[in-house]
């Protein structure tokens, strides 16, 4: 668990999954990411990221009910696990600690 790394994009996806707990699925993650990052993202990258993270045990998935949208195909919702949350916390901690060490000068 300790040795695992999290890519930058994967981290972003994980953050969105955590933020939209119980409601996060492919398209939703895609929309919010595109909106926040203000740049185009291909949904395939998101799918790959989710799959990888599920393999690493950072998220789990479950299928939603059958609806009339999407031609009857169920949505696959992703939920962050405790390991995933720990990872996020760890990342956040590392980044913030460095950020706080930046001298308070104007960088132009």
């Amino acid at each position: 668990m300790k040795g695992q790394t999290l890519g930058e994009f994967e981290e972003l996806v994980l953050l969105v999954v955590a933020a939209y707990h119980n409601e996060a699925y492919g398209v939703l993650i895609h929309e919010h990411l595109e909106e926040k990052l203000a740049k185009k993202v291909n949904i395939s990258a998101i799918h790959v990221a989710l799959r990888r993270m599920e393999k690493k045990g950072l998220v789990t998935s479950k299928y939603g009910g059958i609806t009339r949208d999407r031609g009857g195909r169920r949505k696959k919702f992703y939920i962050i696990t405790s390991a995933g949350k720990k990872m996020l916390d760890h990342q956040y901690q590392v980044r913030t600690s460095f950020y706080n060490q930046i001298p308070k000068i104007s960088f132009g």
Binding site: N42, H47, R51, R70, R74, K75
Partner: protein
């Protein structure tokens, strides 16, 4: 395009299919759903952008994480599975005996055709392969280009062979043979010294001893190194020794030719008979040693009578050697022609291009050289092999059609198997097994048919084919072929049958039993196209053959008898002629060896008028005949007069044919003079052109004059009892020549014999056409009967609603008639083109008229109707209640 269940628009079809094809099952729902959602949101704004975005996303998803794991096709068929397949296959065959037998029957026919053709082709291709050093044996041929006419020949001057061996060290040995009739080769009367009876032999030839060594003959008696090195010796084959000397030794014995006791030929060797696959089939080989056929003949470079073979050292560069031959032209061919001022000859030899023909190519004669020997024709080999392959193809098509048509019956089996968990690959294997089983049966039947039919095939084509029982790879290759054909024709039906969805079977929706698929229709059209082409071909060849046999030839060939080898009568031949004329049924008798059928004498030379030079001479035939020739053959004199006995001046008179007259460009040739190698003649008459060569050629210039030429006597008979006349003739013959059996034939027989190859082609074509029609008809029959059965309910309903028998009949047959018409339209131009090509061989030929094509069209429709009628009629007249009752 909106989905009916929800209002989501459907994304690009093919990309969606692509996605479903490659994507893993555990991801597909999620990915497809997400993509669909994005697409529908975008679609409201801009449909085209939504589509392109979708496509891009599908492509982007094509990465290892999402691609299905490649499933290795493991046909997990153990032995038990295989046995089960066989059992089930066997059961399904017996359950549908009718259709199975149609399939098997069609296949068996096709296989028989291929096997018979295969044997024939195998033999034709196997000539001259038996020489140990065959790769070093070549025959010299030359190509010439004279007066813009390309020619090819295999005859060379007498000293050519020794010039070759002198000038080129790569050549180990040369050998020539001379088969020129005028020099005494060919047909002769032969008798041994002890026996007074002469027998006619056809295959006498003059040969260098070295040729025997080149051809690797096996000596049973005599010295293989110098048997023919002494003049006036002869080597005979074992079968001839048997004929003349029974089992005794023949060496040292003497043979006489044509009763000429002054020229004894001593037998210096006996060899094994030539293999049946050797192109060289002569039985009497007389030595060429020190033999001049006329004064100065053996050093004459201006006559070409010798076919020349060479044997080169191993690993010789043939191309290099051949190019060196060109130097011989300057060294040997040109000088005598320059000396005699023969400008034509000079131009001719300058255009020489030499080629070395490997011995194994001689028989098949790809170069189309006329060398007087027996040849196979490579074009026929192509023709027949393609016909047999097509026949087999038609049978395969039958199989495919019938198998896919009856797919409805199998839907239940396939659906059930899939539900229980069979993989698609095992299903395919199961159906392939069934088709292999079927093709094996067909092979067995076809094989038996071939064995049965082989004797008839042989007698019809005048060949001797045998089943190659002794070749070790014969049976294994048959088995392999059976399996291969089973697989090839079974692949499409197997894939088709194994692709049924279980859901359709459960719903009871039977898939395309009644729908006419384009593929099936296309296949039926294909079958009929081939059959129609074959029919047209057969009709054309038959009509050309009729034309040939019945065409007015310009002379009367009926009831004209030819008595052969009459030169042995010597001076008494004139008396013989008088005796013959005493027979009441004989109208006219003529003594001459020059006749308008093949195999008789020919003499080509130059004719020139006083105002022409020898170089400009018109090339034409020059025949030595007698004064009753015109009368006996029934030729028509159109200008001037015939020869007459009363007119003694006719010793220098000449009658020419129309071609020669027009070549001379004279208004009235009567009275003019023409010169040939024998002297000058005065033209007294012009005869209407008559065909003396095959109808493949133009009628060339011809001049006839009175001069003794005794080897044949012809007689015009007018008799209703031919046998009686022949007996009378034979009696007179016996008086004159008691020791030589009479030999005769009839001009019309000899004429027909000139076209044996056309006859043979005709027969083979007819056989194949009938086979193709039968197979195509069978196929149509099976297919239509099945489809009609399927539509039983529909027909019953129509009948109930009041349809007439006629309209049902029309309904059922119109579809097939349409197919046949389409096939006809496709086949006609192809057949027309092919037949025109074939007919171009013949200068005198039939016109490809509408009659043949119309007749074929009607015939093919008739065939189609015939096969469908019975079934359609039955269907149209059945009681509707039968079909509806079971619903």
């Amino acid at each position: 395009m909106k989905d009916r269940q929800s209002n989501t628009p459907t994304p690009p079809k093919y990309f969606l299919r692509f996605l479903r094809w490659y994507c893993r099952e555990d991801c597909i729902e999620e990915i497809e759903g997400d993509l669909l959602e994005i697409h529908s949101k975008m679609h409201a704004v801009s449909p085209s952008r939504a589509d392109s975005r979708f496509k891009w996303q599908v492509v982007k998803h094509f990465r290892p994480a999402f691609i299905k794991k490649a499933s290795i096709i493991r046909p997990h068929t153990s032995i038990a599975m295989f046995q089960n397949n066989l059992k089930i296959g066997w059961r399904s065959l017996t359950k549908q005996k009718f259709y199975a037998s149609i399939k098997i029957g069609g296949f068996a026919f096709g296989i028989t055709a291929c096997l018979l053709m295969g044997l024939f082709i195998r033999q034709e291709l196997s000539y001259d392969l038996h020489y140990k050093e065959g790769s070093q044996i070549y025959r010299v041929i030359r190509e010439t280009n004279f007066n813009n006419e390309l020619g090819k020949g295999a005859h060379f001057p007498s000293p050519f062979a020794s010039a070759l061996i002198e000038n080129f060290p790569e050549i180990d040995a040369v050998g020539r043979y001379n088969a020129t009739g005028q020099f005494g080769a060919g047909g002769n009367q032969v008798r041994s010294e002890e026996n007074a009876t002469s027998y006619h032999e056809d295959d006498i030839v003059f040969v260098d001893h070295d040729l025997l060594n080149i051809l690797e003959v096996n000596f049973i008696e005599g010295n293989p190194y110098n048997a023919l090195k002494t003049p006036n010796t002869v080597v005979i084959t074992a079968s001839k020794r048997q004929k003349y000397f029974k089992n005794e030794e023949a060496i040292g014995r003497v043979l006489f030719l044509n009763n000429d006791d002054s020229k004894p030929y001593v037998i210096s060797g006996v060899i094994d008979d030539f293999e049946p696959t050797s192109h060289f089939q002569h039985n009497f080989m007389i030595s060429l040693a020190n033999h001049d056929f006329y004064n100065g003949e053996s050093s004459n470079w201006q006559n070409d009578n010798y076919i020349t073979y060479i044997k080169v050292k191993p690993a010789t560069n043939i191309k290099a050697l051949t190019s060196k031959f060109a130097s011989l032209v300057k060294k040997y061919f040109l000088p005598p022609r320059i000396a005699s001022g023969n400008a034509e000859g000079i131009a001719w030899v300058k255009s020489f291009r030499f080629k070395l023909q490997p011995i194994k190519d001689i028989y098949l004669n790809v170069d189309r050289i006329r060398d007087g020997g027996k040849h196979g024709d490579i074009r026929y080999i192509w023709l027949f092999s393609s016909i047999s392959i097509f026949t087999l193809l038609i049978a395969c098509v039958n199989f495919i059609n019938l198998s896919t048509a009856k797919s409805a019956d199998r839907a239940r089996e396939v659906g059930l198997r899939k539900v229980v968990g069979s993989q698609k690959s095992s299903l395919i294997f199961r159906f392939l097994t069934e088709s292999i089983l079927l093709s094996t049966f067909a092979f067995i039947i076809g094989f038996m048919l071939t064995v049965l039919l082989l004797p008839y095939f042989n007698s019809m084509l005048n060949i001797e084919l045998m089943m190659p029982w002794s070749i070790w790879w014969f049976f294994p290759s048959l088995v392999c072929c059976a399996i291969l054909i089973g697989i090839i024709s079974g692949i499409y039906p197997s894939f088709y049958l194994s692709s049924f969805q279980p859901i359709q079977m459960l719903k009871g929706k039977v898939s395309n039993g009644t729908k006419n698929s384009t593929l099936r229709n296309g296949l039926v059209i294909f079958q009929f196209v081939i059959s129609i082409i074959l029919i047209i071909g057969t009709l054309t060849v038959t009509r050309q053959m009729d034309f040939i046999l019945n065409k007015k030839l310009g002379y009367n060939k009926d009831q004209v008898i030819m008595l052969q080898s009459t030169h042995t009568l010597g001076d008494r031949i004139k008396v013989f002629k008088q005796e013959l004329k005493k027979i009441p049924q004989i109208e006219a008798v003529s003594i001459t060896g020059y006749l308008p059928v093949a195999g008789t004498s020919r003499n080509n030379g130059g004719w020139y008028t006083p105002s022409m030079t020898e170089e400009d001479a018109i090339s034409g035939q020059q025949w030595a005949v007698d004064d009753e020739y015109v009368n006996t053959l029934g030729l028509t004199i159109i200008k001037g007069r015939d020869f007459s006995i009363a007119n003694p001046g006719d010793t220098k008179s000449l009658i020419i044919n129309e071609s020669l007259a027009s070549a001379l460009n004279l208004d009235d040739p009567i009275g003019h003079q023409l010169t040939n190698y024998l002297g000058t003649w005065t033209i007294v008459g012009v005869v209407k052109n008559f065909h003396f060569e095959s109808l493949k050629k133009e009628i060339r210039p011809l001049g006839i004059y009175i001069r003794p030429n005794n080897n044949t006597v012809i007689a015009k008979i007018n008799s209703s009892n031919m046998q009686e006349t022949i007996t009378a003739i034979a009696k007179i013959w016996k008086q004159f020549s008691p020791n030589q059996a009479i030999r005769y034939s009839f001009v019309d027989q000899e004429y027909a014999a000139m076209y044996t190859d056309v006859n043979r082609t005709n027969r083979i074509l007819t056989i194949f056409t009938v086979m193709a029609i039968v197979i195509a008809g069978l196929g149509l029959f099976g297919l239509s009967s099945y489809l009609i059965e399927q539509r039983g309910k529909e027909i019953s309903v129509r009948l109930v609603l009041g349809a007439s028998v006629k309209s049902i009949f029309q309904l059922l047959t119109s579809n097939y008639v349409k197919l046949v018409l389409i096939a006809f339209v496709i086949a006609t131009p192809i057949a027309w083109y092919m037949m025109t090509l074939w007919l171009q061989d013949y200068v005198y030929r039939i016109q490809l008229g509408w009659g043949i094509f119309m007749g074929t069209g009607l015939l093919s429709i008739a065939i189609a109707l015939l096969t469908i009628t019975y079934q359609s009629f039955q269907a149209a007249t059945m009681k509707p209640v039968d079909k509806l009752r079971s619903d």
